[in-house]
Symmetry: C3
């Protein structure tokens, strides 16, 4: 048992990454558990609209946004279309950040890109586990336990059946469309050639530094504030003009 060593990076903030939407009771009930079990630990809504039911697209989004948080952050991650079924329930520690959620590939890119990582099967079982809301009943209590300094309530996992070696290192698809209609891809801008063009259904899109460099109405891509290649239109909605949604494929032109 070397689990106690895992607690050297104390959890002092919890970030939520879910596909629950902000409406409805789901996020609130998770926060109620966190406040009750780990009072005083700040809880940050990162994404409540991660790709719904799509752990693959969500994995690329999570990997890009999680690393912006300092070591000592717990990311409570619930994109869990298989809830109530056989998928495992995991804790992953990667570069000092903690991830709690379903073992359905959601942490694949986080683990693949980490310098160092460890993983546990959650063995904690709540008094009452609903069939449909493990976020509230299982994952939130585990995140709260980490936040109050407990050792990970599980055993180290050696089974790699939840890993997804076939997924690419970067995903040439839209993984998120924001409030302004800008569309983030699963491609890190840093891995693309400096003057790479992206193509949508054969239509090439040039790179720009930022919005204010572009004439209104022109489609372009740029490195967004978390390093992803993002397609946008200055003073326009790229999603509507270009027909973009989560899952829309892109090409990187040579």
């Amino acid at each position: 048992m070397r689990q106690n060593k895992a607690t050297v990076s104390k959890v002092d903030v919890i970030a939520l990454f879910t596909d629950f939407g902000l409406h409805g009771p789901y996020t609130g009930q998770m926060k109620a558990v966190l406040h009750a079990m780990a009072p005083g630990v700040p809880v940050i809504d990162l994404f409540a609209d991660a790709p719904a039911g799509n752990p693959r697209a969500a994995a690329y989004l999570l990997a890009a946004y999680a690393v912006w948080f300092p070591a000592g952050t717990a990311l409570l991650c619930v994109v869990d279309p298989g809830v109530g079924g056989a998928r495992p329930a995991l804790i992953v520690e990667a570069d000092g950040r903690w991830y709690v959620g379903p073992g359905n590939g959601l942490f694949e890119l986080v683990e693949r890109r980490a310098r160092a990582s460890r993983r546990w099967d959650i063995e904690f079982r709540p008094e009452r586990l609903s069939a449909s809301f493990h976020g509230r009943d299982l994952f939130a209590p585990v995140a709260a336990k980490l936040a109050r300094g407990d050792a990970p309530p599980g055993r180290q996992r050696n089974d790699a059946s939840d890993r997804r070696p076939g997924w690419p290192d970067d995903l040439a698809e839209i993984v998120y469309v924001d409030h302004y209609g800008n569309a983030m891809s699963g491609l890190r801008a840093a891995v693309l050639p400096a003057n790479a063009r992206l193509a949508l259904a054969g239509r090439p899109i040039e790179r720009a530094r930022t919005f204010s460099d572009q004439p209104p109405g022109t489609a372009f891509w740029y490195e967004n504030s978390n390093g992803l290649a993002e397609i946008a239109i200055n003073q326009g909605r790229a999603d509507q003009v270009l027909g973009l949604a989560v899952g829309t494929p892109l090409e990187v032109l040579p």
Copy 2:
């Protein structure tokens, strides 16, 4: 006057149940009042999209979700189409939880199902009471007063004109549609026969344990994580496929 005895269950968290939507200033202004008057008390967004202007549907939703919170929770509840009119303003204590909001039937099911409850007419009046936003000006200060340990600022209410004895114990209607398109009814699963079928416009829907038991595309109902009968489609949107919205009637088949 036995009101001080009501404060034996200390309020240590405030949950919000409103039809304000999360956008706009309404929830934020209520939270600003709560933070100013009861600093340090956690405030949880439970529902900001309770059935808009529909205290009857909201009453069944509230009763199902409020009991999940521990005694000592104050629920600040604003579904208030009659704001500015003659409806009373109430505090209800039921099984150790506190409810603050309009006397328009919103607390009917909470009170009816409670083992013990008491009720007060709010007598507190703020310096400035707007005609349209009692959530901010009246109900939030009262919830804050309870959270800092004050006695309920009102007098015990004996008038039952706000009660709704004609409403059923369970409501065979959709009371909430969530982010995934799942549709909650006002029926508690525990009061239905084990193999009950629900019917929508004559079309029967079978019971299932949870999503992962069902083939994609099949409509089913299940007991959701708060005990309500909920209609869903695995990997689909029940609201769109079945034409469900708040108010859609159901039948319980014999």
Copy 3:
């Protein structure tokens, strides 16, 4: 240097006024910065759906809602279509409230209506400044510095190039449409004649005290809870019935 005198009104709460939408990572990343740099200071979501990319409409909305907060509030304001371009980055102190955001007119009405105000050019530069997200990288750290009692990290600004003297004192346009379909104008009700009528495309709309005074389905305007003239329909959606959106012009009838 008289900047330290500016800190006499201590910042004890931070309110967010942005056009980010509540979804996506933007508000969460700003809050993560605020929590990390100014732990324990409450952060209130006021508007996340201020008029998108429209600092002029947003300026009238902000001026109406900011004054509701007590002195000692910092308003972190991001409606910033020129991010990455040449617009200045400002701190404004007006009547004891602090405003941090882009110098694009967003604070014009706040400053014009203040009894006393001062302004600074932000000179703080973060280690890493993204081209597209100054809310997170520049404005949130500055708001956090004010919240922990630092002097404004800038120099007093004498340049008035960011002021908008040509904008009217009140704006006869819709500046916000809420969750219920009610449409706020940029007109303060207090500056209108007591029985003023507003007109939409020539159609006159009468004043009422509040919703419950009106028969269902009738369009009216009233002074909303923050003093703006707001167009509504009791039990109806004014935006849909009357075709209202941000930017729709109104007339004040004589």
